[in-house]
């Protein structure tokens, strides 16, 4: 976006710090990050490094201790339609069918609480449903799945529906918080291809939180790594790169080195990373 002759990034994170508790325990320190329109940014880091916190700050469901987050040059203080959201779990409303979940956004934002009392609502609902069926096909589900409830779907199908649900309101930004981490490896790969394809087709900006190096390198057009230098400091950005430029193997090594040295989560599996056809093992 251009403001006063100057190009402004879609998401601008300026001097952002977050602390919790008393005495304050820093979680994030001095984060500066600009995300441009159409980028697919993977936010990578070990468990507890604050990457989900950063995502929630962009979402507006949490507020920084210091600094600002501007979306298109404007500060947003609570979640709204400008940013779609796909969490790891509880993505779907359990009381609504697949179709009900996908059309919820347009119905609620177009007609409000008592909108279904208006005859106009039922005319528009037909359009919403057609669009929902179109999304159902795009995410690889059948029309016969439309009447199912979330608990009748597999984890992968639930996340597909959650993505369609978020995209129905046509947000410019999609925020995904470890959205695929509960899925089996096969489904996870399918989902990575799906979201990459959808983001390119629709031209939306994605901020994707993951702790999988492999996932970040494979789907991100940019990888941002958060890490903590010492226990008394909050996490800051230690690497910000395009995984498609330069030697991706080298990048993988760099990422692993960073993750290895911070050693905050011994359970994290750093044993093997696969980039394209090359497998880097035993770092």
């Amino acid at each position: 976006m251009v403001q006063g002759g100057v190009t402004v990034s879609l998401i601008r994170i300026q001097q952002l710090s977050v602390s919790y508790g008393t005495p304050p325990r820093p979680v994030l320190s001095d984060i500066d990050l600009n995300i441009e329109d159409g980028e697919f940014v993977c936010l990578l880091g070990q468990t507890g490094c604050g990457k989900s916190t950063l995502l929630r700050l962009v979402l507006g469901s949490e507020h920084p201790t210091q600094g600002h987050i501007l979306i298109d040059g404007v500060e947003h203080h609570q979640p709204d339609r400008t940013r779609g959201y796909v969490p790891q779990k509880y993505s779907l409303f359990p009381d609504k069918t697949v179709l009900g979940n996908i059309t919820f956004g347009p119905e609620v934002s177009g007609f409000g609480l008592l909108g279904h009392l208006l005859p106009r609502f039922y005319r528009r609902r037909r359009e919403f449903r057609e669009k929902a069926y179109d999304y159902l096909r795009r995410i690889g589900l059948h029309e016969s799945d439309a009447g199912k409830y979330p608990d009748q779907l597999s984890g992968g199908m639930q996340q597909r529906v959650a993505i369609a649900q978020a995209l129905m309101t046509e947000p410019r930004i999609l925020l995904m918080d470890e959205a695929f981490s509960a899925l089996d490896p096969g489904t996870r790969k399918e989902m990575q291809r799906l979201i990459r394809g959808l983001s390119q087709d629709l031209g939306i900006t994605v901020l994707f939180v993951t702790h999988s190096i492999q996932e970040a390198i494979q789907i991100g057009s940019r990888v941002v790594v958060l890490a903590r230098e010492s226990a008394s400091n909050g996490s800051s950005i230690v690497l910000d790169c395009d995984p498609r430029s330069g030697d991706s193997g080298l990048l993988a090594r760099q990422l692993l080195d960073i993750m290895e040295t911070s050693k905050e989560t011994p359970s994290l599996n750093l044993a093997a990373v696969e980039v394209g056809d090359t497998q880097f093992a035993g770092f």
């Binding site: 709204d80 969490p87 509880y90 956004g105 609480l113 608990d151």
Partner: protein, 285 residues
């Protein structure tokens, strides 16, 4: 076969389940019949344990004859008309009306609990007071209710509401707080307003559990209803039981108690079915 077949890994057959589940009913009836027949052998005028024939006659009179306090009018000829003019129907109708009104008055408690759980200022305003109010023994308020609202219907209905509403309210509050925050955030990102989130996301999700909570509190509702009717009423099932106690009318009291249990069982069953029908997605834990 080891003794383990009776323990955790046991898999009773359908017929075994059927026999076991009815066994205590049969044993209870047999024990009663034995005791009644023994007492009647000793004293044919015994009124404490009426025989089956006496209870059947008592119930027949209750279900097909008007109450003693009602003026004898023209006697109805058909069975349904006789039932509609009977003491049992009159008492059931009076208790059911109080019960229905009380249940309807629990709905505002659900709405308040929802708002307390979602809107921090509403929660801060009401929570401490409701927690305190919940600890007051409702029956101890009965004299105050009779003084404040008189001995008419209002005081009896208020007793039920005061006794049960705080429980339903706090249950709704806790269920609301239990909705994952991701769902609320997600709804906002889809364009929902605060009230859309409250009524279209949270209330819809928790309602089957709230409905269950009301169902599980049916006995408390009836308990307070009976307390009010026994103390100050001129009709109702509990009024009749209290009245017949003075005359040792066990031949009617026992069938009345079983009638109340049957009604409560039917209300419970209906509420379960309605809950399943309204919320096909809901699976009870």
């Amino acid at each position: 076969m080891s003794a383990g077949f009776l323990l955790i890994h046991a898999k009773p057959s359908r017929s075994a389940v059927l026999v076991l589940s009815w066994f205590l009913f049969a044993a209870g009836i047999l024990a009663y019949l034995y005791a009644a027949s023994a007492r009647h052998r000793d004293n044919p005028e015994d009124r404490v344990t009426p025989t089956i024939a006496q209870m059947a006659k008592g119930m027949y009179d209750a279900a097909l004859k008007p109450a003693e306090e009602d003026e004898a009018g023209e006697e109805a000829t058909t069975l349904p008309k006789r039932f509609l003019g009977s003491m049992l129907w009159k008492d059931t109708k009076a208790s059911a009306w109080r019960f229905g009104v009380s249940m309807a008055l629990l709905f505002p408690a659900v709405i308040l609990g929802l708002h307390m759980g979602l809107f921090p200022y509403v929660g801060a305003f009401f929570l401490r007071f409701v927690l305190f109010f919940d600890k007051i023994v409702a029956l101890s308020l009965l004299p105050i209710l009779f003084i404040a609202f008189g001995i008419d219907e209002l005081s009896k209905i208020m007793l039920i509401v005061v006794g049960v509403a705080p429980t339903i309210l706090l249950d709704t509050f806790n269920l609301t707080r239990g909705v994952p925050p991701e769902q609320i955030v997600k709804a906002f990102t889809l364009g929902a307003s605060d009230f859309d989130v409250a009524y279209r996301v949270v209330l819809k999700q928790i309602f089957p559990r709230v409905f269950n909570s009301i169902r599980l509190n049916l006995k408390a509702v009836v308990l307070f209803l009976f307390a009010g009717e026994m103390i100050a009423s001129t009709d109702g099932l509990a009024y009749r039981i209290a009245l017949l106690r003075r005359h040792m009318g066990m031949d009617v009291i026992i069938p009345y108690v079983l009638w109340v249990a049957l009604l409560l069982f039917l209300v419970d069953l209906s509420m379960r079915r309605i809950n399943q029908w309204l919320h096909p997605w809901f699976r009870e834990a």
